[in-house]
Amino acid sequence: MAKEDYKGIWVFAEQEHGVIEPTVFELLGKAQDLQAHNKEEIVAVLMGNDVDALAPELIARGANKVIVVNDPALAEYSARPYQAALTQLVEKYKPSILLYGATPLGRDLAPRLMITLDTGLTADAIDLGYDEDDVFYQTTPAYGGKILAHIVILEKRPQMATVHCKMFAPLEADPARTGEIVKETVQVEADPDYQVVEFVPDENVEVNIAASDVIVAGGRGIKSEDDLKKLQELADLFGGQVGVSRPLVDNGWMPHSRQIGQSGVTVTPRLMLNLAVSGSVQYTLGMQKAGCIVAVNTSADAPIFDFAHYGIVGDYKQFVPALIEELKNRKA
């Protein structure tokens, strides 16, 4: 079959325990852009057991069609049954594109499809689109993000990618959107050689600020431990972590694991807020490769402003509550 005969933008609608993984909606959002270019149908593939109730939301979020598969063998995620089920669907419908969220589950499953479908799979793409040659490409980071590459899958179909979470905006759920819900059956058996023993809250989550996408950092100018709690509240709203410069470790307010700088941790978050941090060389050596740097300091001469993309000459004590308020308002 010619590659031109493969049609459809498929999104693997990952769900566990009856909850759709939010990144699926981001993929459906991005799929609109792709559809504007290739005019193909956007299809969400929903697998599990007794998951019919989840289908309408996928349509409300931008899918033109939802393929639903219910099977007891798919009740809980397991690589081999899911691989078998999805392979059968792809072989039947022959989509041109198949996207997965780059979640632990997506990255567990997708490589196995690469084998059974004999096609390409781009890992953890941060962007998708069509290039000047009208070729579908995926942008993917390599070498820890120091290099970006455009990956293309020229001959094989479907063109598959796992896609980094939170890269694309989801559509607002709109119940007025309409679409088709198709029920499918597959031939699968539960995997007798794989079992989930337990799934529980992790009792020892360790702080690793280096792995955090967002860091709210406090410096020497932070006046009290109570103010640090405010920083934590702000970090929580961003889904990030609190870091500090050395003085706040020296005075015992924070453990060394949260210290940023030459003698602490080097961090490269996508977004970094520096509050009451002056910006000694010791400190900036540990954070200057951060993506977007915001600095708040009462002194306009503070060296931290040399590194900042956004600068606010002001008092963190006013800035922090105002920002918390603003973020809460937007979330609500």
């Binding site: 690589a79 081999r80 990255r107 567990d108 499953l109 997708a110 490589p111 196995r112 690469m114 084998i115 096609t119 390409g120 799979l121 781009t122 890992a123 953890d124 070729v135 980071p141 390599a142 070498y143 120091k146 290099i147 970006l148 590459a149 455009h150 990956i151 293309v152 899958i153 020229l154 094989k156 939170k166 905006a169 995997d191 007798p192 050689d193 794989y194 079992q195 989930v196 799934f199 529980v200 809250p201 992790d202 989550v205 967002v214 993506g291 977007c292 402003f305 040399d306 900042a308 993309h309 956004y310 600068g311 606010i312 000459v313 002001g314 006013q318 105002a322 920002l323 603003e326 973020l327």
Partner: protein, 261 residues
């Protein structure tokens, strides 16, 4: 028990940069090293061997220079090394790579457990382990942060955000491990001196009866069309001023526009 551990020689990412003239990766002066997560896999294999006895076979696909990485893991205590090296393996994506590794696993045979690092720091794909499991038709556990073997099953914890999942797979199985699993040992001086005397096999496609239409560039559906460095932000500071309520509004708008929220 017989454990296959898959390792990769990667460039030290601190050294990685693009040549501004050619747009290609600079090769000169780039140190290579054992992929960090693979060191965790090797450590795990050696601990299992210490507990249960058996053989640890280290396998790497790469150019002849990758023999250095294999000798390093022999110096850590692995028993045998297999270097899969052939011009026909060049330019492989994860489909072709995992195929090649699966052919080596089949040829070595009799394996109980196959261990990989979660991902390699050069490609950052995390795909080779599960793809290898698929070629071999085996169950898999990815992202293992703990590993135990009991009664023919491998039991692992997986850290998933603030949740912890415990899963088990029947041997033989493929497990990909994270840096949380253990602290890899260093090679010893004695180990390195003896590494040269341990069994070391260099296999090409023919030695593994690998189909060269499935290896290297011909076996790779995906290809790299171009590489580039992430856009460097200017450090021209944009100062926000006025009332604090307006400042934070403007800031949040800007961050949203940059997809940073």
């Amino acid at each position: 028990m017989k454990i296959l551990v898959f390792v990769k020689q990667v460039p030290d990412t601190d050294d990685v940069a693009l040549d501004p003239k050619t747009g290609n990766l600079k090769r000169e002066g780039v140190q290579s090293m054992l992929n960090p997560n693979d060191a965790n896999a090797v450590e795990c294999a050696l601990q299992l061997k210490e507990k249960f006895g058996g053989t640890v076979c280290a396998i790497s696909m790469g150019p002849p220079q990758a023999s250095r990485t294999l000798k390093t893991v022999l110096g850590m205590g692995c028993d045998e090394a297999y270097l899969l090296s052939d011009r026909a393996f060049g330019g492989a994506d994860t489909l072709a790579t995992s195929y090649t590794l699966s052919k080596a696993a089949e040829k070595i045979g009799d394996y109980d457990l196959l261990l990989c690092g979660r991902l390699a720091t050069d490609g950052d794909t995390a795909q080779t382990g599960p793809a290898l499991a698929a070629w071999l038709g085996l169950p898999q556990i990815t992202l293992a942060s703990s590993l135990a073997v009991e009664d023919g099953w491998v039991i692992c914890d997986r850290k998933l955000g603030d949740m912890r999942q415990r899963v088990k797979a029947k041997l033989p199985a493929v497990v990909t491990v994270t840096g949380d699993l253990n602290k890899p040992r260093y090679a010893t001086a004695m180990g390195l001196m003896k590494a040269g005397k341990k069994p070391f096999f260099t296999w090409d496609a023919a030695a593994m009866e690998a189909d060269t239409s499935k290896t290297g560039m011909p076996g790779s559906p995906s290809s790299t069309k171009g590489v580039f460095e992430p856009e460097k932000r200017t450090t021209d500071t944009k100062y926000l001023s006025g009332e604090m309520v307006d400042i934070v509004k403007e800031l949040v708008d800007s961050l949203e526009a940059e997809h940073l929220l």
